[in-house]
Assembly symmetry: C2
Homo-oligomer: 336 residues x 2
């Protein structure tokens, strides 16, 4: 079927996003850096390797429990640079607002960006502000791009997972996505949920101090852990086995997922990472993750295998095994 | 008067834009790099000086005579990096589209981005695509961020203009802004106008080969030549004199400006630059500009003086002198 209109599913992070990129973007912008499909580009600038990443934040609502569009925009790009193995240093900020947007809300957002930048240890060094007529945008969208230096001994990429690697997940999943969904739909629960928006660069630094055999880093944002694992299995041409009982989900988040019919494996996170680590260093790297303030619930959730390349299988709670596929489109409405 | 809502004038590039940045952005993101207010940031990365710039393109209509939102987004950031003295190398692209946007139009835009990137000699190395519900954005907005290396002998900044400097303008003004305005308003004229959207990095390279005493480079986009000159006069604490008869304006553009009551000095350009050059090298640098395909109409339009610091004066066509102030807000509706 020929699709002649862009659909929300094209922005889901799932199969339709993938086909949009594969069919339109990659053929046009064909180059070996872009085609690696990492969270950012890895560039050689006069002998220094730089990580360079960009993301536009369109979250609705713009303020939510655990964060707001401002700290999300800073943390998200800090994390994308960190997932390339880069130590994030500098951010750009591109704001687009509609006429009539509240100056007080803008101030709050900008303040939160500063606080997030300070916490991550990055500088916001250049920016751009556009105002469009009322209705030409929904309140405010923020683009951040980031640059970081990749230390010499660091070499991570979605294509470097190796059979035997242990898969570390830095904490509970689905917190951000379910927070945004329940806020947007006006649902209230006895145990409120909140976004996990957080910078992960200090955690990554500690991990590399603990071990050098970190092969892949990925923050499972849009599309969640399920989509991220599929992308890595495909890029590295390996199989992945995960264990459902090992994956931490807060009880209140699990309950809301159950109630609304969502699989937490595909729900967005904004302060979690997946790391693929050589088996002999997995324990020491896991300990380093747990020492970080955002990694207390970290655990090993699975391993890389040589068979079934490109596929992800999960040993389920009830003793079976099921394939974890990439979703075609959105499980949720727009959430990040 | 306390302003509690964002106005279109806040995005004009004029005084209200300036106050938004000065009152909200700079206090929050206070650092010495951002506060230089150049077209981008100049960063030291392990001894290599990088130029880093960002811009979001929200132009309406997205296709127009002389260009479209795609090549505008590439050329604009290429030019911002070049105006920092950087040789642009890498771009990121952040697309935001509304649900229902035409896939064919997306393909056209992406193709034009590739053609523009090839022409400028830059690589698009990382990207992000978001789809938002129909109506949450007007069709498509594009953010581009760019990185370039600044050669060792190059040192340009808005604050480096010196008394005696000659001011070179690389060609006719107001082409882009009047094209967008007439297209948006559905106005047709016997002599059609078209945007000057063009990459200026090759021109800048040639200029530095011709002379080292280039102190300031600026592309007069939003706010036009009038606003750019005021920003430079203020940042360098110098006076500026320009000569109205020296400033090239296409007759058809001048006629439309006259008809609609716009001063071309404040209308946006997307393929022009201003260069402040030591007087003994002005001629050779001007020759280099004229050798570039986008600099054939270049000329010296004025000079820097020590008196009246921070002010711009123009010797008018009729023999008088008038102050060229910064506008408070929009002369036009949104045009770039």
């Amino acid at each position: 079927m020929k699709i002649d209109k862009i659909l929300l599913d094209h922005g889901s992070g799932g199969k339709m996003s993938h086909s949009l990129i594969a069919d339109i973007m990659l053929p046009a912008f064909d180059n070996t850096i872009l085609s690696q499909l990492n969270d950012g580009a890895i560039l050689d600038m006069n002998g220094t390797r730089l990580a360079f990443s960009t993301d536009t934040y369109t979250v609705d609502p713009i303020f939510f429990p655990g964060g707001n569009i401002g700290d999300l925009a800073v943390n998200g790009t800090v994390n994308d640079v960190a997932m390339c193995g880069g130590d994030p240093l500098y951010l750009s900020v591109g704001l687009v607002m509609e006429e009539g947007f509240s100056v007080d809300e803008l101030k709050k957002i900008v303040d939160q960006m500063r606080i997030a930048a300070d916490k991550a240890g990055v500088m916001i060094v250049t920016g751009d502000t556009k105002v469009v007529p009322h209705g030409a945008i929904d309140k405010i969208f923020i683009n951040t791009s980031g640059i970081g230096v990749i230390p010499e001994n660091v070499n991570v990429s979605a294509g470097l997972a190796q059979p035997g690697d242990k898969i570390i997940l830095s904490g509970t999943i689905a917190d951000h996505g379910m927070t945004i969904l329940t806020q947007r739909e006006g649902l209230t629960f006895d145990s409120p949920v909140k976004s996990d928006s957080a910078p992960l660069n200090h955690m990554v630094k500690g991990m590399f101090e603990a071990g050098s055999k970190i092969h892949v880093l990925r923050d499972p944002t849009r599309g969640g852990v399920g989509t991220a694992l599929n992308e890595i299995a495909e890029a590295s041409n390996v199989g992945i086995r995960i264990h459902e009982t090992a994956i931490p989900v807060r009880p209140e988040v699990a309950a809301i997922c159950e109630l609304l019919g969502f699989d937490p494996l595909y729900v967005a996170n904004e302060g979690k990472l997946l790391a693929f680590v050589g088996p002999d260093q997995a324990e020491q790297v896991l300990d380093a993750v747990k020492e970080d303030e955002f990694g207390k619930d970290a655990c090993v959730i699975g391993e890389v295998v040589a068979d079934t390349p490109g596929k992800v299988f999960m040993h389920t709670r009830v003793g079976g095994t099921r394939m974890v596929d990439t979703l075609t489109g959105e499980q949720l409405p727009r959430i990040c």
